[in-house]
C-alpha cells in the first residue's frame, strides 16, 4: 500500500513546514517587492506615473541636479509611491528611461499605521 508506506515514512521524518518566525523563508533576488526610486538618477519625466496601472505614483516638486546620458540637467519633479495601492507589477521599472525605479526584494506595503505608506 503506497499510501500507508509513505505515511509511516513521514511519521519518522521531520515535517517540511518552515516555522516562520524562527526559520525565515528565503526570498529570491528577482522578487518584486517594495518600489524604490534612485534619487540621483531620476530625471522627473513622470513616465512611471503615466504607466502605473494602479495609479499609485504621483509626482511631487523636487529640484535636483542629475546626470542623464552624459548631460547634467535640473529635474523639477520626483515620483512618490503610495505603497498600499502599488500592485508590484514592475511596469515602472520596465519603462523608466533613466533606470531609476527598482523593485527590491523586500516586502512592500507593510507599515505600522494604516494611513498611506509613502516611499
Amino acid at each position: 500500500m503506497t499510501v500507508l508506506s509513505e505515511m509511516l515514512r513521514n511519521l519518522v521524518s521531520r515535517p517540511t513546514t518552515t516555522l516562520y518566525p524562527v526559520e525565515k523563508v528565503p526570498i529570491p533576488d528577482a522578487f518584486r517587492g517594495r518600489v524604490e526610486c534612485a534619487d540621483e538618477r531620476c530625471i522627473g519625466c513622470s513616465k512611471c506615473s503615466l504607466v502605473c496601472p494602479a495609479s499609485a505614483i504621483t509626482m511631487v516638486e523636487n529640484q535636483r541636479e542629475v546626470e542623464f546620458r552624459g548631460k547634467t540637467m535640473v529635474r523639477k519633479k520626483k515620483p512618490q509611491v503610495s505603497l498600499y495601492s502599488c500592485i508590484r507589477c514592475g511596469l515602472c521599472e520596465r519603462h523608466c528611461p533613466a533606470d531609476a525605479m527598482h523593485l527590491r526584494n523586500v516586502l512592500s506595503a507593510s507599515g505600522p499605521t494604516c494611513e498611506e505608506v509613502i516611499m
Binding site: V3, L4, M7, L8, N10, P15, T17, L19
Partner: protein
C-alpha cells in the same frame, strides 16, 4: 472498595471523570499530532485541545431562531453524561469496583446515546444542513451498530460472563480474545471508528458537503460539551476494546503488592489504548470519506456477514472445547 469516600474518589477523581477529561484531551492531541506528522505537517501543540475547550466554553451561545432552548441545552449534557457513566464500568487500574453482570450491555448502550443526541441536535436546529446531517447520523447508526454489538458480544460467548471486568479476568488464564477472535477485533475497531464519526465514516459531519452536519448550529458551551463528549467517547470506546480484546489493565502473573499491580495495570491500560489510537489515526489519515449508500452496501454485505461468520466460529470453538 466498600469505603464510600474511596469509592467517591474512584468515581470523581482518578479513574473517573477528571481522569477521563484529561485523558481525552491527551487522546485528541496525540490523534491530531500523529495524523499531522503522517501528512508531513508539524501538528498542534500539546495544550491545543485544552485551549479549544476553554475558548469554546467562553464563547457566546447563539440560539437559532425558533429553537427549543431547554432541549437544545440538555442534549450535549446528556451525551457527555452517558459517556462518563459508561467509562466507570470500564476497567482502568484492574477490575472496576462497580462491575456487575451485564455491564457490557450497559456500556454499549450508553456509548450509543451521543449519536442520538447528535440526531436530536440536528433535527432541532431547524437548519437544512443539520437536518440532513442528523438523518445521516442515525442512518449510519443502523449500519454499523449491528456488527459492532455482535463483535463485542462474542467475547461473552467464549468467556461465559456479561461483565467487562470478568472478561478481562478470564483473559488472564487464556489467550487474548483479539488472538482467539481476530475478526471480531477488526469489526470492533471499524465500529468504533464509525461510532466516533472519523474519516472513512464521517458522513454526518461531511464538511465539504453539508457544512458541519448536526454540529452546524452548535456554538459556545454546547459545542464544547459535545466536542468533549465525542473525545471522551473515543477514550471510553478504546478502553472498552482494550479491556475486552487485549486483556485490559491486568498483568498475567499476580505480582506482590496491590499498589504495584494497580500501577502496572494502569501503564498497560495506557499502552493498549494508545495502540488502538495509533490504528484509528492511521485509518483516519489513509482513507477518504465514503458515501452513505456505499457504506450501506459495505456495512451489510461484508462487515455483518463477517460478524456472523465469527459467531459461527465461536460457537464451534465453544462446542469443541466443551466436548474436549
Amino acid at each position: 472498595m466498600a469505603d464510600p469516600l474511596l469509592l467517591a474518589a474512584y468515581i470523581l477523581i482518578f479513574p473517573g471523570f477528571l481522569f477521563l477529561f484529561a485523558y481525552s484531551m491527551v487522546f485528541e492531541f496525540l490523534d491530531r499530532r500523529i495524523v499531522a506528522r503522517m501528512q508531513n505537517r508539524v501538528g498542534p501543540p500539546f495544550f491545543q485541545p485544552f485551549a479549544d475547550i476553554v475558548k469554546t466554553l467562553g464563547k457566546e451561545v447563539i440560539d437559532p431562531e425558533g429553537v427549543d432552548r431547554p432541549i437544545f441545552d440538555a442534549a450535549p449534557i446528556v451525551a457527555l453524561a452517558a459517556v462518563m457513566t459508561a467509562f466507570l464500568y470500564v476497567p482502568v487500574i484492574g477490575a472496576s469496583p462497580l462491575a456487575f453482570q451485564g455491564d457490557l450491555v450497559l456500556v454499549l448502550y450508553l456509548l450509543t446515546l451521543p449519536t442520538l443526541a447528535l440526531m436530536l441536535l440536528g433535527w432541532l436546529s431547524r437548519n437544512i444542513y443539520a437536518a440532513v446531517g442528523g438523518v445521516r447520523a442515525v442512518t449510519m447508526l443502523f449500519i454499523y451498530e449491528v456488527p459492532f454489538f455482535l463483535a463485542l458480544v462474542m467475547p461473552t460467548l467464549m468467556a461465559g460472563t456479561w461483565s467487562v471486568s470478568e472478561i478481562m479476568a478470564w483473559q488472564k488464564e487464556h489467550l487474548w480474545l483479539a488472538v482467539l477472535q481476530p475478526i471480531a477485533f477488526v469489526i470492533a475497531l471499524i465500529g468504533l471508528q464509525a461510532k466516533l464519526e472519523r474519516t472513512p465514516f464521517d458522513i454526518p459531519e461531511a464538511e465539504t458537503e453539508i457544512v458541519a452536519g448536526p454540529w452546524t448550529e452548535l456554538t459556545g458551551r454546547r459545542l464544547a460539551l459535545m466536542h468533549l463528549a465525542n473525545q471522551s467517547a473515543a477514550v471510553a470506546g478504546s478502553a472498552l476494546i482494550a479491556a475486552v480484546f487485549l486483556g485490559g489493565p491486568a498483568l498475567p502473573w499476580a505480582s506482590g503488592s496491590a499498589v504495584l499491580d494497580a500501577i502496572a495495570g494502569f501503564l498497560l491500560f495506557l499502552a493498549k489504548t494508545l495502540a488502538i489510537l495509533l490504528i484509528l489515526a492511521t485509518v483516519r489519515g489513509a482513507t477518504a470519506r465514503i458515501r452513505l449508500d456505499q457504506l450501506n452496501v459495505i456495512g451489510w454485505k461484508y462487515i455483518t456477514t463477517a460478524a456472523l461468520a465469527q459467531v459461527a466460529i465461536v460457537l464451534v470453538m465453544n462446542a469443541w472445547e466443551v466436548g474436549a
